[in-house]
């Protein structure tokens, strides 16, 4: 019984499971992603975050359950498929080429052209102007779009990748641990871009193991543990401390603390 498309969430997993041989990577996971909101998926190492992101972005296909985009069941066979449905993923390797300039990277695979037939040329002026505008919209002043991406900091490269996804019409933006390799300041920069993408009406899926970062920008939180969803909160129903505690094992941790205290 699917809801009608106009009220259906942007993206929806319903009882999704994924097995690798005898290993249960994900079991019965259900979540929804709304337009103009940030959905955080939190989990420790081995919780199944990577498997989840790979299903969402079209790298893997779920073995059970249903994956719906705007109420329609989908079965992506590649990330290109997902991209065609407006689901863009920014992986940790970022899909940018360090030696190439910002504008060349930004339009890689989607180069704007002028002219007819085989004599079409890459519209360089338009590319440079668009890059400057788009990045300015995300709060980065690129004085020199000719700068190689390799000379940018990690946060800036994240921003270029995010701006690119948004520019090419991504309705859902999946970010895989965007802050894991970054310092405090850089993380703040990236989180601001996440918020900006949300303000543009993009549904953002933020995969992270950092509850502090998640709480700063998230609207909805899903906790993943050993391949299962163990809890879900909205911003209104949870405090940061509760989220941190839930992440850290919650009750188990308290029990452990008692045990340590009681020891002679």
């Amino acid at each position: 019984m699917n809801p009608p498309p106009d009220t259906a969430p942007l993206l929806e997993l319903d009882g999704v499971s994924k097995y690798f041989g005898s290993v249960i990577a994900l079991k019965d996971v259900s979540l929804t992603v709304e337009a103009g909101s940030v959905t955080c998926v939190l989990g420790d190492n081995g919780a199944g975050k990577s498997t989840l992101i790979k299903i969402l972005s079209g790298v893997h296909r779920n073995d059970a359950g249903e994956y719906r985009v705007k109420g329609e069941a989908v079965a992506f066979s590649s990330p290109r498929d997902a991209l065609a449905s407006g689901i863009a993923s920014v992986f940790q390797d970022l899909a940018t080429v360090p030696l190439m300039s910002i504008w060349r990277n930004f339009f890689l695979g989607n180069e704007p052209t002028v002219g007819i037939g085989p004599f079409r040329l890459f519209d360089v002026a338009k590319a440079k102007a668009t890059v400057r505008d788009e990045l300015l919209g995300m709060g980065i002043d690129v004085r020199d779009p000719d700068q190689p991406v390799g000379t940018l900091s990690g946060g800036e490269r994240q921003a270029v990748a995010i701006a690119r996804a948004v520019h090419f019409g991504a309705e859902v933006l999946i970010l895989d641990e965007p802050t894991s390799a970054l310092g405090v300041k850089q993380s703040g920069v990236v989180l601001r871009y996440v918020r900006q993408a949300r303000e543009r009406g993009v549904g953002v899926v933020l995969i992270t193991h950092n509850p502090h970062h998640a709480y700063l920008v998230g609207d909805r939180f899903y906790l993943l543990n050993r391949g299962r969803l163990t809890a879900s909160y909205t911003k209104a129903t949870v405090t940061r401390d509760e989220l941190v505690r839930a992440m850290a094992g919650g009750a188990e941790l308290e029990a452990l603390a008692h045990e340590l205290d009681d020891a002679p």
């Binding site: 991209l83 390797d93 899909a95 080429v97 040329l121 300015l136 709060g139 390799g150 543009r200």
Partner: protein, 350 residues
């Protein structure tokens, strides 16, 4: 939503200002341009004939640089795309021999023979590219195999069919005159510049346009810079690389045809060993051996340096046996300069 205040607040922290000098240093062909000027100055100074810097000398060293330059540009595109073709040199011989055999043994006209020769070269390039992409072996190994296979075929087949190690008598075929005027004539008497110089300039211009101003050019940089990232953004990596292999072998056919028409005969060993000169010219021109960076103009300037050096050594009255020592030295210098340039370009990342 656009908030310049946020932007300006972060400018200083995240963007270092790049002056005109830094901008110039980022150009891959800068080292080659300076090198070409230095080599020109050196041999003008060492010149014993008083002709090196004049049009008579220029006709000689542009002749030497032209066919080398055509190949260097194609090899540079392939290197920017992250691959090598060690069969590029021997292909010049193979295509020359094939054209020669087609007109002398099978009595084809020169023009149909040229057409078939280009088709053969494209097929070999296609095979090189397909095998490299399919097996995921380094192109260095795959094209080394092609190199030795073609070298063997060149010698074996030529001896089998002609009883000697050369195919001669190409000028007796129909259409030789018109083909020679297109591929092997001269202009600007009495200095007699080779027509190949025009071809070289055109090839360089077209390659530069393709590389810097087309989608395909963007893909070439991407597949050489980071094939994985390119694939993730939807660049047809396999198609792009195979096209580059075909371009290289087709360029070899062009040079093979030029050489055969000019000399009227082709040696079975023609072109062997030249593949490294092409790679040297491309590297001297700023191409990175690791791919993703370089330019067609740079490769042409690299070819010019090599051409000037070979002719200059003769004009200076030095023993030409030392040619290759010079090649080795400029290669080493160029790689040193390129490494510095790349570190600048890649910044603090590594």
């Amino acid at each position: 939503m656009t908030t310049p205040t946020i932007a300006s607040k972060h400018v200083d922290e995240r963007l270092s200002h790049l002056g005109p000098v830094g901008r110039l240093l980022r150009r891959p062909e800068l080292g080659a341009l300076l090198g070409a000027l230095a080599v020109f100055a050196l041999f003008t100074w060492a010149d014993q004939t008083n002709q090196f810097a004049g049009p008579a000398g220029a006709a000689r060293w542009t002749d030497s640089a032209a066919t080398l330059g055509i190949m260097a540009v194609a090899v540079a595109l392939l290197m920017i795309g992250g691959e090598f073709d060690l069969s590029a040199g021997v292909m010049v011989g193979s295509t020359g021999l094939l054209m020669g055999l087609l007109v002398t043994r099978w009595n084809l006209g020169v023009w149909p023979a040229i057409l078939l020769t280009f088709a053969f070269a494209a097929a070999v390039g296609l095979m090189n590219g397909w095998v490299v992409m399919r097996t995921r072996l380094p192109s260095f190994i795959v094209t080394l195999a092609t190199f030795f296979a073609l070298r063997g075929i060149n010698l074996g087949l030529t001896k089998e069919l002609t009883g000697t190690v050369r195919v001669s008598g190409i000028d007796g075929a129909g259409g030789y005159g018109s083909a020679r005027s297109v591929f092997a004539s001269t202009f600007w008497a009495p200095y007699d510049f080779q027509i190949t110089v025009i071809w070289w300039l055109v090839v360089t211009a077209v390659a530069t346009l393709v590389l810097t101003r087309t989608r395909f050019g963007n893909w070439v940089y991407a597949v050489g810079g980071d094939a994985n990232a390119a694939r993730n953004t939807g660049v047809p990596v396999v198609r792009t690389k195979i096209a580059l292999f075909v371009t290289t072998s087709t360029a070899a056919a062009l040079v093979g045809v030029m050489t055969a028409l000019r000399l009227r005969s082709v040696q079975a060993g023609q072109g062997v060993g030249e593949e490294f000169t092409y790679i040297i010219a491309a590297v001297v021109g700023g191409c990175l051996l690791t791919g993703g960076f370089g330019s067609a103009i740079g490769a042409s300037l690299g070819a010019l340096i090599v051409g000037q050096a070979f002719i200059g050594i003769a004009f200076a009255g030095w023993n030409t046996d030392w040619n290759y020592l010079f090649l080795g030295l400029i290669l080493f210098l160029a790689v040193m300069v390129n490494t510095l340039v790349r570190r600048r370009a890649e910044g603090a990342r590594r």
